[in-house]
């Protein structure tokens, strides 16, 4: 059992969990993830490690309530515990050498974009951070992100906070202003990462994306998380989760992530 040292509601859909996990805290590098298994009947859920403190032996994950399992995780309180936490899994983000970096987070993706940006910043890179949300009520980690970014841009679909528009609009604007980046890191909904990659491909900027396929074991044992990158099949849990965004088949990933969606059952009904 893993104790929850802090459960903090960040917005109506998103909860931050700080967990006592000494071994993982000692090993984790930016971009790596853990798998949480709340109780005997629960699913195994992959979540990127948003923060860690090797001294106090803690890791932090940020959960967005999307389905039954994540909803249940979001109801946990400080002092509760989680049956199983395993990690750190996957490869660390490779931003070696990049000096001018633009990190883009979309929605709960900011929970992963933030530690990546922080790590880049710590290595002395110039880091611009663009954070996009649907509306003001969904904003998370605003102060934290603002504190570590050289330039922080908040943008919302409906303009209820920050600028109005999509993260791609903010990125285009920066590029038009003459900003030069040698790396873009995009983390968020698949459609957002795909759109960012379209912009950066045209501009010839190397782009890393953090993929979020369906996973079970997270150790390369099942291939449930396989994605096509540069025409080759990769297992996101061991080869990723970060990949060169210009090589990723995003449409296939979106289709695969709908494997267990309700609309699939409708699709079966049609087939009969």
């Amino acid at each position: 059992m893993v104790e929850i040292l802090e459960a903090r509601v960040l917005n109506p859909q998103i909860t931050l969990l700080k967990l006592k996990a000494e071994r993982i805290a000692k090993k984790v590098q930016p971009g790596q993830f853990v798998i949480l298994h709340q109780d005997e009947k629960a699913e195994r859920i992959p979540l990127t490690i948003a923060d860690s403190d090797p001294q106090e032996g803690t890791i932090t994950v940020i959960v967005q309530a999307a389905g039954e399992s994540t909803k249940r995780l979001c109801t946990l309180k400080t002092g509760d515990s989680i049956r199983d936490v395993v990690g750190p899994l996957g490869q660390a983000t490779d931003f070696e050498g990049a000096q001018n970096i633009c990190v883009i987070g979309g929605g709960v993706g900011c929970a992963i974009a933030y530690p990546s940006a922080k790590a880049c910043h710590r290595r002395g890179a110039h880091v611009d951070l663009i954070a996009g949300f649907k509306n003001e009520s969904l904003v998370i980690l605003k102060e934290e992100m603002a504190a570590i970014a050289d330039e922080f841009t908040l943008i919302s679909d409906d303009g209820s906070t920050g600028k109005q528009g999509f993260v791609t609009d903010a990125l285009k604007e920066k590029l038009e202003q003459g900003k030069k980046y040698d790396l873009v890191i995009a983390i968020g909904p698949i459609i957002m990462m795909k759109m960012v990659c379209k912009v950066t491909e045209a501009a010839g900027i190397k782009t890393l994306v953090s993929l979020n396929p369906i996973m079970i074991d997270g150790t390369g044992m099942c291939g449930g998380c396989r994605v096509t990158v540069g025409g080759k099949v990769k297992f996101a849990c061991v080869d990723g989760p970060d990949f060169d965004g210009h090589q990723v088949d995003f449409d296939e990933l979106m289709q695969r992530n709908r494997t267990y969606m309700e609309d699939h059952r409708c699709h079966l009904e049609e087939a009969k």
């Binding site: 195994r44 291939g223 994605v227």
Partner: protein
Amino acid sequence: MPNMQNEKTPMPLQEGLVRITNFEEVALGYTEEQMINEADRCLHCVNHPCTAGCPVSVMIPDFIKALKQGRIDEAYGIITKTNSFPTICGRVCPQENQCEKNCVRAIRGEAVAIGRLERYVADHHTPVLQEKPQPNGVKVAVVGSGPAGLACAADLAKEGFAVTIYEALHEAGGVLRYGIPEFRLPKRIVDEQLDQLKHLGVVIETNVIVGKTLTMQELEDEGFQAVFIGSGAGLPKFMGIPGETAAGVFSANEVLTRVNLMKAYREDHLTPYYQSNHTIVVGGGNVAMDAARCARRLGKKVTVVYRRSLAEMPARKEEVEHAMDEDITFMTLHNPVEIYKDEKGFVKGVKLEKMELGEPDERGRRSPVPTGEMIDLVCDCVIMALGTSSNPLLVRSEPRLQTNARGCLVVNEEQETTMKNVYAGGDAVSGAATVILALGAGKKAAASIIKALTPNKA
């Protein structure tokens, strides 16, 4: 006088069309009367060739003699002298290729049903907890809690070693837990075996991935004087054909993990199972049979597609028969060349190429030859059961561990790897094989560790 009946005494089974509605054990075990009838078929050969066929050398005629004379606990003692896991082996060993292959009765008729008798003993003996051995103060780490790791841990614990098993998943047992379905090996049996190990003082730490959570160096630093690696061969193979990444295409490992470890077949568990009208399972091994039989219990129509003929199928004959009784269709001499997707990216069919049998390969199996003739089959789920290879996760993190061209760990005759005091066995060394071979390798490594670390005993 021995019973000269030529056939094995049949094992009572749950009826085919009933059992596909549940996950209860299919083979129900002998009654006392059936057990006696079968035990009487053993001729008690002086040279007992059956024992030579057993990878852990169980003294078979001796246990059968004790059993039929009603001394079940003594029979259990004879078996467990060399095999710590008879409830498991009696159920899942391919006896026809091992002990029963050498049985003298098999020359004319069927072999003595050694596996079924072993299972009877294991299921009916009086449970006794073994006495805890005197600790010898030596710490040994075991990586992986599958059959190889469990066998190694059991033998070391009996000698007084302080054993800690590290397991990556949240439940111990390896393939016994996530691979072999409940209807072949009830999980309560795996739990009982683990409880016995814990009673012997073995500590099992789940959710630890050696190579990620802990490194080999850290194990050394924590005072483990030897390490046994039994991490298995868990990396699934795919065919590399067009359409293989469609939604609805799974590895058998994924399907079995969802069903067995995550209990996706139970309403009260949250892990989903993919609903289908017609599932194609590609492959002909035991894993293909397990996947097909799980799919049959959770879906509708299931077809096994295999590129050779029934005669070459590597799965146990009994498993193939059980699958057929469960209304699973077999399409032999066919091989998928493409998977068709619908506009939403879901599987809607497969293109199969007809195959012919060519010349026997170096192992004597006739190899399949493509004919160029294609047929299309409508289906909405494809399960790939093509075998597995070694998982590179551990060796990537430890350059001192050498592997061969197939990614398997290199070991010497003592089961020692290229790292001093680090031993390995089971699928991690041999590539995908059987439960009993893994048990045998774990025992052998335990013997080497005992020899290396307790010089007085040697």
